[in-house]
């Protein structure tokens, strides 16, 4: 999202630099499972997700975009009710979602479990390869001649009469405006200028298998949101669903734990029984930042005019390219096409159903 905003700001004529403590695009946007599904987006964020999805589609081959369609599965009556309620609301919010009978699903996805009670379908769903996020943005940024510094940890930020002075080791960078788009590391980053925001980080687990025979053609989800699966063209299957590893952004990368990895894999195996013999090659985690109401932070930081924050976007991989273009416009002093999300709002606790 930092890169997306930088592109927009630079196109608008601003002299821009990107500073990253690690490699470009190697945070949440580079390690998530790559799902671009309308069925797992929040109702209120649906218009943003639809716009974001369009942008991914335009990036196309460079990010390995595939519009495969997606099914969300329910294995019992409780989940079927949940699926029906949730998908109806998402449909009303603009997503192209319909319900399909288990018989039709069986025909389209013969390798899925027979025990499916209900399913929904969205033809727009698909995936991109999140590993290529950094590569894509590095190319765009290089084309525009935007400066970037990778593996550069900011140690101090001083407020000056004209803006901010950023310190990293020997480096000193003067800037009029600053945007914090640090994902899971937002809390530590804004504390450098004395701000405090209630950001937590979820530690989402993702696994990938070796190359396997074709097991599924579309993106597969679960009524509870606890499973995402897709098989890429090379035959590997990516398995996610937001199962929680351990660790904090301030301590480096998160860790996979067996207590959550194993039920994640069991659920995948339950949904696609032929996965049982397929080997897992890698499991990892990524930090998904959130505030208590699970809505984005996008706007001015505190009472400052020239400090901005962008993060905590639920469904940020899909929405990221779009919301960052809005952010870019906002920093350029233009009216964004859709409203941003005031970071200074009072956060209500998000409701879990």
């Amino acid at each position: 999202m930092g890169c997306g905003t930088a592109l927009r700001a630079s196109e608008g004529g601003m002299n821009t630099i990107i500073i990253d403590q690690s490699d470009m695009g190697q945070g949440a946007s580079g390690v998530n499972a790559g799902t671009l599904s309308m069925q797992i987006k929040r109702v209120k964020l649906m218009p943003y997700a639809i716009k974001g999805h369009d942008m991914w589609q335009k990036m196309g081959q460079e990010v390995d975009f595939h519009k495969t369609g997606g099914y969300t599965l329910a294995f019992n009556d409780r989940e079927a009710d949940l699926l029906h309620d949730r998908m109806t609301m998402k449909k009303e919010a603009g997503a192209n979602i319909s319900f399909v009978s288990p018989a039709i699903l069986q025909e389209k996805e013969p390798s899925l479990a027979q025990k499916i009670v209900a399913a929904s379908y969205c033809p727009d769903d698909g995936y991109a390869n999140s590993s290529l996020t950094g590569q894509y943005y590095r190319k765009r940024i290089t084309q525009l001649g935007i400066n970037y510094m990778e593996n550069t940890k900011i140690t101090q930020i001083n407020e000056t009469s004209t803006g901010y002075e950023i310190l990293s080791g020997e480096n000193r960078i003067q800037t009029k405006r600053i945007l914090f788009a640090c994902g899971g590391w937002l809390k530590e980053a804004v504390s450098l200028i004395g701000e405090d925001i209630p950001v937590n980080a979820r530690v989402n687990t993702v696994s990938v298998t070796e190359r396997a025979p074709r097991l599924m053609n579309s993106v597969i989800g679960h009524a509870t949101g606890l499973l995402t699966m897709k098989q890429k063209n090379n035959g590997t299957v990516l398995i996610g669903g937001g199962w929680q590893g351990i660790g904090k952004p301030s301590e480096g990368r998160g860790k996979v734990v067996m207590d959550s990895l194993i039920p994640n894999l069991q659920l995948a195996k339950f949904a696609a029984p032929k996965l049982a013999k397929v080997r897992i090659v890698r499991s990892w985690t990524g930090f998904e930042a959130n505030v208590p109401d699970f809505y984005p932070l996008a706007g001015k930081l505190g009472k400052r005019d020239n400090a901005f924050i962008l993060g905590c976007v639920r469904g940020g991989y899909t929405i990221g390219p779009y919301i960052s273009s809005l952010m870019g416009d906002y920093i350029l002093g233009k009216e964004p096409e859709m409203p941003l999300f005031d970071p200074s709002r009072k956060f209500e606790q998000g409701k879990l159903i």
């Binding site: 590569q135 070796e210 996979v256 039920p263």
Partner: protein
């Protein structure tokens, strides 16, 4: 729960387990092989009914007997795929293999996963009939199988001569032996190795045997390519400069149906990395090593590393390193006694005597800069994903500088081997293009499983209603 779990039953790990047991601790020893011995004292396959007794088979059998008659619990043909430490510092390991348990826990964890080999790619290295030097020794030791009818042995360090000598012993034919090292480098190493005259003499005998048999021995030379359509047919041998650069005009074509190729051993650090220990780069120890004290204590509480995975010092040093790690674990768990202190001092002294030899041997395998030039543009560096040197270079030119970034951009190291076989060449290519040091280049993020693991191996059938649903995502 065990007091001590040891991963790896080679000379270091098995001795660590026996030492911890000697001090009254409850010990579990895990190894993926069918018995103790590790790679160096590898146990014979059960299908081999009788075999000539050698020095290594004797040492291995003795170790296996000691383990068998001890109180140490054993899980052979078992692999560890996951390592976790909880907030109370208790270790929890995920297991795969023939064992019935899917996990096991312990207070202290000693990692003795040994070494793996480094093979620097060259044109034709992926042809059938090409073996790693260490891989070839596994074939000899476990199965008494030769790599082919007519073999070229090439690479650096002592393994070149050991493999050549074993091929002769097992009745095979050698068409050439090619070592990157010069006679001068060997003489220099020999001076360091003089503390172990027996071992040195053994090396001299290996070389002497080659001379008697009239086998061409190419000093300070390398294979510039391995040729053949579907299998190895011949190889090009070229003299090199002392830095390993090929002298293009002086090549010899030698026919062979097989090649044993290797450029030394590197520490197998996946387990200590997954366990969270700090590592640093030290080329004299074979490359990346866990940062340890003289007893093998890592930077993580109750985590120890011993044996070649903690730096390549070889088989002679391994038993003492195992003992030292076990003593450290015993002292950390139960306090030190005069016996542990005396034992520690004695083992440390022995280790000092043995380490010089290992370091001199490892020095012969420090990769020479020129080798990197011998990896052609179209040579596959990552075999799992078929990524060539050129694809890696293009990614580097586009601006990726770290292993994570190059991996993301190219898929180099994303296959079933997890980058085990290509990360070394990848780092060398990165070093040559970006001029960063190996320490600066760093390593890709450590991720489980340690080896690919099937879902059936690690998860039982799901009782769907028992699934721990942690709360539905917000609407």
């Amino acid at each position: 729960m065990y007091d001590v779990i040891v991963i790896g039953a080679g000379p270091a790990g098995a001795n660590a387990a026996l030492t911890a047991e000697h001090y009254g601790l409850n010990v579990l020893l895990i190894d993926e092989g069918s018995d103790a011995g590790g790679q160096v004292w590898r146990v014979k396959s059960k299908s081999i009914l009788s075999a000539p007794v050698t020095e290594t088979s004797l040492k291995g059998d003795k170790l296996r007997q000691r383990v068998k008659s001890s109180e140490v619990d054993i899980l052979f043909e078992t692999r560890v795929w996951q390592i976790e430490q909880n907030e109370e510092h208790v270790w929890q390991l995920g297991l795969q293999g023939v064992c019935e348990r899917s996990s096991v826990s312990g207070k202290a964890l000693i990692i003795a996963t040994g070494a793996q080999e480094r093979v620097i790619p060259l044109n034709g290295w992926t042809l059938p009939g090409v073996y790693g030097l260490a891989g070839a020794t596994a074939l000899f030791k476990e199965h008494m199988i030769l790599p082919g009818k007519n073999t070229v042995v090439a690479g650096s360090g002592p393994l070149v001569f050991f493999v050549a000598s074993e091929i002769i012993r097992l009745g095979g034919t050698l068409s050439a032996v090619v070592t990157l090292n010069s006679r001068f480098e060997w003489l220099k190493a020999a001076a360091e190795m003089i503390s172990k005259p027996g071992l040195l003499w053994q090396g001299v005998k290996w070389v002497f045997k080659l001379h008697i048999k009239g086998i061409p021995l190419h000093w300070q030379s390398a294979l510039s390519s391995i040729n053949g359509n579907e299998y190895v047919q011949d190889v090009d041998i070229i003299k090199t400069t002392k830095y390993g650069y090929l002298k293009r005009k002086l090549n010899v074509l030698v026919e062979a149906d097989s090649v044993c190729l290797g450029h030394g051993l590197i520490p197998a650090i996946e387990a200590t990395r997954l366990a969270g220990a700090d590592h640093h780069y030290d080329e004299t120890l074979g490359g990346w090593v866990p940062t340890i004290d003289q007893c093998g204590r890592t930077t993580v509480k109750y985590l120890y590393a011993c044996g070649d995975n903690a730096g390549i010092l070889g088989v002679q040093a391994a038993p003492y390193r195992g003992e030292l790690s076990a003593i450290a674990a015993v002292e950390d768990l139960t306090g030190s006694t005069s016996e542990t202190i005396n034992h520690h001092n004695k083992a440390l002294k022995s280790l000092g005597e043995e380490a010089a030899f290992g370091i001199a041997a490892t020095a012969l395998t420090i990769p020479k800069n020129g080798l990197i030039e011998n990896i052609g543009k179209n040579v596959e560096v990552c075999r799992c994903e078929g990524i060539t040197r050129e694809e890696i270079e293009i990614e580097l030119i586009k601006g990726s500088v770290s292993p994570n970034s190059i991996k993301s951009g190219t898929r180099c190291g994303m296959g079933p081997c997890g980058g085990r076989f290509c990360s070394e060449s990848l780092a060398m290519i990165t070093e040559s293009i970006t001029n960063q040091s190996r320490e600066e280049i760093g390593l890709p993020t450590a991720r489980p499983p340690l080896r690919p693991v099937s879902m059936d191996e690690i998860s039982d059938e799901l009782d769907y209603d028992e699934l721990p649903i942690p709360g539905v995502s917000p609407l």
